[in-house]
Structure formats: C-alpha cells, structure tokens
C-alpha cells in the first residue's frame, strides 16, 4: 500500500463522491415524488392513469438500471431526444426508484385495516380527511423500513453511472487504474469511499425506523 499515491488520489475521489452524492440524492428525491404520486393513483383507482402507472411500475421493476440508462443515453438521441449524462443519471435513478417506492407506499397503504377507514368515516370524516389524517401518517411510518432499503439500493445502483461517462467513484477508480495501474490502492479507496457514503445512510435508516414507530396504531 503506497500512502503517497492514496493522498494524491484523494481530491479526485472527493470530487467523484460529491458528484455521486448529488446525483444520488436528486434521484432519490425524484423517486420519492414519483413513488408517492403513483401510489396515490393506484390507491384511488383512477381510471386510465392506473393502467399507465401499473405498466410503468412493472416495466421499470423488471429491467436493470444499466439497460435503462443505455436506452436513455444511447438510444433516445437517435430519435432526437438528447439528454446530458447528469440528467440521464437523475432521470434513470428516479424512474427506477419511483417504481420501487410506489410498491412500498402502496403496500404501506394497503396494510392498514379497513376498520380504520370505516371508523373514521363513521366519525363524519370525508374522504380527504380520512386519507390525510388516518391513512397517510400510518402508511408513512409503515413504509419507512421499505423506503430506507430502497434509498440504500438506489445509492448502490449509482455505481453503474460510469457507463454513461459520469465521473463517479467507479469511473474514477477505473480511470486511475487504467492510467497508473495502482490497482490495490484504487480499489481500497473505492471500497472506503462507498462505505463513507452508505454506512451513515444505513445507520441513520435503522435509527429512523425505530423513531417513527410511534405513529402506528395498536400493537
């Protein structure tokens, strides 16, 4: 292990980490938004929209992110839609994550016993009130473990961004190995930087899971 080499590579890895984090969080935010919207559409059984959303979820849950990114980045320009690598990354991550998040929120909503809706209605609440005050808070707390798992999954998936020439951690490691052949140092730094990125998320996630349980009714 050559420490001078590691020190000299540090700035490049830091840049790459920041880029990965930026696109990662944008993608996660986008996926949360998409997920909530899709889950609400499916839960309220809106005609037509429900079918479209269902198809979108199946399509994106059953294909790899790498293939989705290749399609966005290499195929779409051929029909005149040109997207920058950054936007491609965010969009791809958001679309993939949206499909996963939608499933998580949907099962969160469905896990709430029908008697709660009925009780709320018998208290004179209208549909929006039932949704906003009774279903949503509980659904959110029940979805937290799923959402945390999805966020970690999405941040891990960012490792394929190097294929669409984004200078993320993976790209940097590959690039430096290709130039200076310091394989061990580069790979160790790669592992350490991914740990730095994901360990806090993982720890924070389990903390959050314990914190939000109070919103649940019963047991």
């Amino acid at each position: 292990m050559d420490w001078d080499v590691i020190l000299s590579y540090l700035p490049r890895y830091r840049e790459a980490l920041l880029l990965t984090l930026r696109i990662g969080w944008q993608g996660v935010a986008f996926s949360l938004l998409t997920g909530v919207l899709c889950a609400v559409v499916i839960y309220l059984r809106l005609p037509v929209l429900k079918t479209i959303v269902g198809g979108y979820i199946e399509l994106f849950r059953n294909t790899p992110l790498l293939v989705q990114l290749f399609f966005l980045y290499f195929a779409l320009p051929k029909i005149g839609i040109r997207i920058s690598p950054q936007v491609c990354g965010t969009l791809g991550l958001g679309l993939l994550g949206g499909a996963y998040m939608a499933e998580t929120f949907r099962s969160g909503l469905e896990s709430i016993a029908p008697i709660q809706t009925e009780s709320a209605e018998s208290l004179g609440m209208n549909r929006m009130q039932v949704f906003g005050y009774v279903l949503l808070p509980q659904a959110v707390s029940r979805s937290v473990p799923g959402v945390v798992a999805n966020v970690i999954f999405l941040l891990k998936e960012t490792s394929v961004f190097s294929t669409i020439s984004l200078m993320d951690l993976m790209f940097t490691a590959k690039d430096l190995i290709g130039m200076y052949a310091k394989t061990i140092e580069c790979l160790t730094m790669l592992v350490v930087f991914y740990l730095l990125m994901l360990l806090p998320v993982s720890l924070l996630g389990s903390l959050l899971e314990r914190r939000v349980r109070f919103a649940e009714f019963g047991d």
Binding site: N62, L66, I79, I152, T158, T163
Partner: protein, 224 residues
C-alpha cells in the same frame, strides 16, 4: 427518418446472437442462485444461533453485502484479488463468486426471517406431542418455512438476472455487449440502429423477468 434498427436486428444471425448474450446472463444467474439457495439455507439456520460470535460475524457479513454495490465487489474480486493473490480468475467465475457472495447473504436473511416468523407455539405443540427436535424441524417447521421461502427465492432469481447486466464491466460478452457490437458493426448502414437494438434489449430483459416476478407474487398471495 431512417430506419431505427429493426432491419439490422433481423439481418444475419443478429437476433440469435442477442439471445445468446441473454443466455450468458441467465446462465451466470442460475448458477449463482443455485449456490445461494443451497448455502443460504445453511447460513440462515446459523443466523438464528444465539452464539454472540456467530451473530456478530453474520451481522458484519450482511451489512457488507447490504451497502457495497455489486459492481464494486466485482471489481475487487476480478481486478483486486487477482492482483493480491496472483491467481487467474475467469470473468465468469468472478461473477459467480460475487453474485453467490451476495445471494447467500440475501437468502440467509430470508431463511432467518422465515424461521423466526414461525410462532413459538408450533415448536411447543410439537414438543408436547412427543416429537424429537429433528422431527419437529422435518415435519413442522421446514414445510412451513419452505412455503414462505419459495416466492422470495423466485424473486431473488429476477434480481440476480437484473444484476448480471453489470458483468459487461469485467469483459463478459452478454446481451448489452452483443447489442453494442451489432450497433458498431452496422454504424455505416444504419446509424440509428442504437434505438431499435437497445429498445429490444430493454424488452428482452422485461420479457425474461416479468413472468418470473408475476409467478412469485402469485405464489406469495396463494400461500400467504
């Protein structure tokens, strides 16, 4: 507007080559899934152990698999381990090692979850009926656990298939690589072929994974 690559797809043996690439991905995932299920069953039983050392060991193992991208593991095994230990690893072997390492952890966790979800009373009732520990496991616990596990392991197969798309990075010629080769070879004749070919690859993955995940959710509902 020029053709979008559908003609290129049916030129020569191009479509068959794509399917061949898909088969490579499928082969790697089937081997890895088999290893994962077999070892995962054992690891899952070990995970329910009360021994603090075993518990800590598997906690660390699970956490590593949970937060390390499979791509990083692929690089570490394919480029790193060969450098450190000086051995030769074929790309496909490294892929199987990495995906099994990942799959055993996932499967083990599923097995552990299924085992602890069996209510205490089932063990106690079996004991009250005079069954030995082995009989309890064989006739009471295992049948119920397997029922819960089958849909989850089928799901693991689709996740495995999707993850095998990463092996393109360590030089395995799978469906995406074949697609790139076809596009490059026809660049002059059909410059827009990328659209059609990548759309077909997208669709192929979907057609492969969708029925499998449908089967998993069907079984999950039926056996719940």
């Amino acid at each position: 507007m020029q053709s979008l690559g559908i003609d290129v797809l049916f030129k020569g043996t191009n479509f068959l080559r794509l399917l061949g690439g898909l088969w490579v991905a499928l082969r790697i995932s089937l081997v890895s899934v088999s290893v994962s299920i077999l070892l995962g069953l054992a690891v899952g039983v070990l995970m329910t152990s009360k021994n603090p050392i075993i518990k800590a060991f598997f906690r660390v193992y699970l956490e590593i698999v949970r937060i390390m991208p499979q791509m990083v593991l692929l690089f570490v095994v394919f480029f790193g381990s060969t450098r450190v230990f000086g051995w030769n690893l074929a790309p496909e072997t490294s892929a199987v090692i990495v995906f099994s390492f990942w799959g055993v952890a996932e499967m083990g966790d599923l097995v552990r979850g299924a085992l602890i979800s069996i209510p205490r009373i089932q063990y106690e009732s079996a004991e009250a009926l005079g069954m030995t520990e082995n009989q309890t496991y064989l006739y009471i616990i295992l049948p119920q656990t397997i029922r819960r596990l089958i849909p989850l392991s089928i799901n693991l197969i689709t996740r495995m298939i999707k993850t095998t798309s990463l092996v393109i990075m360590i030089g395995i010629v799978e469906v995406l690589k074949v697609a790139q080769q076809i596009i490059e070879a026809n660049r002059r004749v059909s410059p827009n072929a990328a659209f059609g070919i990548f759309a077909v690859v997208f669709l192929l993955y979907f057609l492969l994974c969708w029925p499998i995940s449908k089967l998993a959710s069907y079984l999950e509902k039926r056996w719940a």
